[in-house]
């Protein structure tokens, strides 16, 4: 009975007893979720347009952040460093298209997946070789990102909103809106959607797949850079972030590999879910459950909806 009480009732009592902490937990989960969603977003873009399960998205986040800070440390002014980093991400997209995707076109999914492992290794080595392996401080001030926190007194306590977290949420929203506009309104965006629906059909109306791939990978690179800046500002830019980037995977299975809204909603569910879980239920089993809770939440969802939250129901045909 005692166990049942601790699992089923006590956490909710705690939530009620300290509502400010509850709000804080939700907010922290929300921000973490936004960042997971951003990583997942870059992934979804690539999966939609080129069918590649891009394992390298996580390392692209680190690589982009590292390049930015590294260039700044080498003496470039921040705006210039940002520009050059964008250039680097573009070159990266170009190189990936030319060296990896083009020769591997029409290969089975798992081979392309494997190739992105190759990219991951390559980028780890390259990033550390050029910029060194030590964690770096994100140049938040130079990028005009706010620091400090807003404390709101409420519910008999206080809730703290880090300005950088608010900025992260705002930037994420802006970016998602921008991407949506880009997809809906521009010629390239329409072409992208066409490619996502059917490669062959897109080819037949004269859309260049190679161009599309470069654009998509570059877009994913920009998303990675933004994610890298935001996460870097929260902790540090280091290769340790790579493991956190794996959290984008449960987000993806929750939201579906091809759904942008799915990535966002999935990110929020995972982010908030794991924070609540760790905070209220973690202590019951000794803590640290955050490392696997996200995957189990996703697994639970999958058992009921194997196609993800936003995927279409699969009708098997033969």
């Amino acid at each position: 009975m005692d166990i049942l009480f601790k699992v089923l009732i006590d956490p909710f009592l705690q939530m009620g007893a300290m509502p400010d902490l509850f709000v804080q937990t939700i907010w922290d989960g929300f921000v973490t979720g936004v960042l997971y969603a951003l990583i997942a977003l870059g992934f979804v873009l690539i999966f939609k347009a080129s069918g590649v399960f891009n394992f390298a998205q996580g390392i692209m986040v680190v690589f982009a952040g590292l390049t930015l800070v590294g260039l700044y440390e080498m003496g470039l002014p921040a705006p210039l460093a940002l520009l050059v980093t964008l250039g680097v991400m573009f070159v990266l997209a170009l190189a990936i298209e030319r060296v990896v995707l083009r020769p591997l076109v029409n290969q089975p999914d798992i081979i392309l997946f494997m190739a992105t492992f190759g990219i991951t290794y390559f980028l780890i080595g390259l990033g550390e070789l050029i910029f060194g392996g030590n964690p770096k401080q994100m140049i938040t001030d130079q990028l005009f990102l706010p620091r400090g926190a807003i404390e709101v007194k409420m519910l008999g306590g206080f809730v703290q909103f880090q300005k950088i977290d608010i900025a992260a949420a705002v930037i994420a929203v802006v970016m998602i809106v921008a991407l949506a506009v880009f997809f809906q309104k521009t010629r390239i965006g329409r072409a992208l959607r066409a490619v996502a629906d059917s490669h062959k059909a897109a080819l037949s109306v004269g859309i260049s797949l190679n161009q599309i791939w470069v654009i998509v990978w570059f877009t994913a690179g920009i998303v990675a850079l933004v994610t890298g800046i935001m996460w870097g500002a929260r902790s540090d830019v280091s290769f340790g972030l790579q493991v956190i980037a794996l959290k984008a995977l449960p987000v993806l299975i929750l939201g579906g590999f091809t759904s942008v809204p799915g990535a966002i909603v999935g990110g929020l569910i995972i982010g908030i879910g794991e924070k609540l879980g760790e905070f209220y239920w973690g202590p019951l089993v000794g803590g640290g459950i955050e490392s696997w809770l996200a995957y189990c939440i996703a697994l639970g969802f999958l058992l009921f909806r194997p196609q993800g939250l936003f995927g279409d129901k699969i009708i098997e045909r033969i």
């Binding site: 926190a149 803590g287 955050e290």
Partner: protein, 441 residues
């Protein structure tokens, strides 16, 4: 098709070259081979790089200034472990045939795997203030050294300090102490002692484990801290865990002067974090370059481009930690030369040398590091010294020493050590009794 065959050819040549590894070259006889296991890559590189530079530069400086130790050059060799046990073992196997006089694993994980091998291979393991705490017992672990203090000593010193802060150890009763730790071997080791002290002194212990993959995602741990409001926070962290924890602590407005860490954070981990002023940590050696030996390093090594370290990093906390490690290496070798009368010593000699380390004020002065650290004397029974350390505080730009040396609590630590050493022998069935004779010193 031809490109396929090229691929095959490449694979074949790679395989062929792997077989050539059969015979690693033997280092010239007239030198002492000292391999340094370092990690300049991976998630812990931030801590690993300054340490690696410190160790390397000091020994290199001895080579440049004195022509080595006792007139014999030190053959320095770095092996990259990435803080990964598998790579560490690989490094060990690679250096073993070259007759190293000791190994410095620089990872608790690697140390744990090397401890059983040390006595068989006759290569001493020097795990400076990390590794297995129980290996302080020289009679059980003749080949393993972990001076100047164990993690248990570290904990005891922190608790003693928290006691002084609260106005006496007995005042800790009823207080709440939080322990945020790296959820691996190193962070977990102090827990039993911590729990025991909690029971004896009557304080409440709250555990906040940080899983290795979540080092940079600690907001839930710190939210829990905010909920539990511990009177003090104790941290055993490493790598990217440290800066993240400091940032998160600032975020929840945790009073930084109540936040005490074991000796592993460095300047990099805290520099630039607004609000981190007041953070405290344990340390046992000097910082800065105000020592003749460090000046020599700058002049003879760094300025000559023999170091990988940027000049401004020389003298930083973790750099000097590396230097301290190198001093132990050098002292071990020097003592071995003195005892055996040989110039080129081997692993067995250096084991004896390490057991006879006696770094007193005079000796520190003689090696150009006056008052760099407290005295350290090792014996064949005591491979650790259980030396005192002091608390230093971050003033926003640098570390400031704020206490004298704080003695650990041998009466608490020793029984735990004995128990652990006994258990180790039992679990590792067939653990050999010490057969190495003790030197009279």
């Amino acid at each position: 098709m031809s490109s396929r065959l090229k691929g095959l050819g490449l694979a074949a040549s790679v395989l062929a070259s792997s077989l050539m590894l059969g015979a690693p070259q033997v280092v010239a006889q007239e030198s002492i081979y000292v391999p340094l296991f370092t990690y300049r890559t991976g998630p812990f590189a931030g801590s690993g790089i300054p340490i690696a530079d410190g160790m390397h530069d000091y020994l290199q400086m001895l080579n440049e200034r004195d022509g080595g130790i006792g007139g014999v050059k030190i053959a320095l060799d770095e092996c990259e472990t990435g803080y990964d046990t598998k790579k560490g073992l690989e490094c060990y196997d690679a250096v073993k045939p070259k007759n190293p006089v000791m190994v410095n694993p620089w990872s608790t994980g690697i140390s744990l795997s090397l401890i059983p091998k040390a006595s068989v291979d006759k290569i001493p393991v020097l795990s400076m203030a990390y590794g297995l705490s129980a290996s302080a017992r020289g009679d059980v672990f003749p080949w393993v050294f972990n001076p100047p203090a164990t993690y248990w000593d570290g904990l005891a010193m922190i608790i003693r300090y928290l006691g002084t802060e609260s106005g006496g150890l007995e005042k800790l009763k009823g207080k709440k102490i939080g322990y945020i730790y790296f959820d691996g071997g190193f962070g977990k080791e102090p827990i039993p002692l911590f729990e025991q002290m909690a029971k004896e002194m009557g304080f409440e212990l709250k555990l906040y484990p940080v899983p290795p993959g979540e080092m940079q995602n600690q907001s839930s741990q710190w939210l829990s801290v905010r909920r539990d409001r511990p009177d003090f926070m104790v941290m055993y962290g490493w790598g990217a865990m440290n800066p993240t924890a400091i940032k998160e602590a600032v975020k929840i407005n945790y009073p930084m002067d109540k936040f005490v860490s074991i000796w592993w954070p460095g300047e990099n981990d805290i520099n630039g974090t607004e609000g981190a002023k007041g953070f405290k940590m344990l340390n046992w050696h000097g910082i800065g370059t105000d020592y003749p030996a460090l000046k020599d390093i700058q002049k003879l090594v760094v300025d000559k481009g023999l170091s990988k370290s940027p000049k401004e990093k020389v003298g930083e906390l973790l750099y000097n930690r590396g230097v301290y490690n190198a001093i132990l290496i050098a002292e071990g070798i020097a003592q071995a030369q003195k005892i055996t009368g040989k110039k080129v010593v081997d692993g067995s000699d250096v084991r004896r040398g390490l057991e006879n380390i006696n770094l007193d004020e005079a000796r520190f002065k003689a090696i150009g590091l006056p008052a760099f650290a407290g005295n350290l004397q090792l014996t064949c029974k005591d491979h650790n010294g259980h030396r005192a350390a002091f608390i230093q505080q971050w003033d926003g730009a640098k570390w400031v020493k704020i206490t004298d040396f704080i003695e650990p609590m041998p009466e608490k630590v020793k029984p735990a050590l004995d128990e652990a050493a006994k258990e180790y022998g039992e679990k590792n069935a067939g653990w050999p009794k010490r057969s190495e004779a003790c030197d009279k010193s």
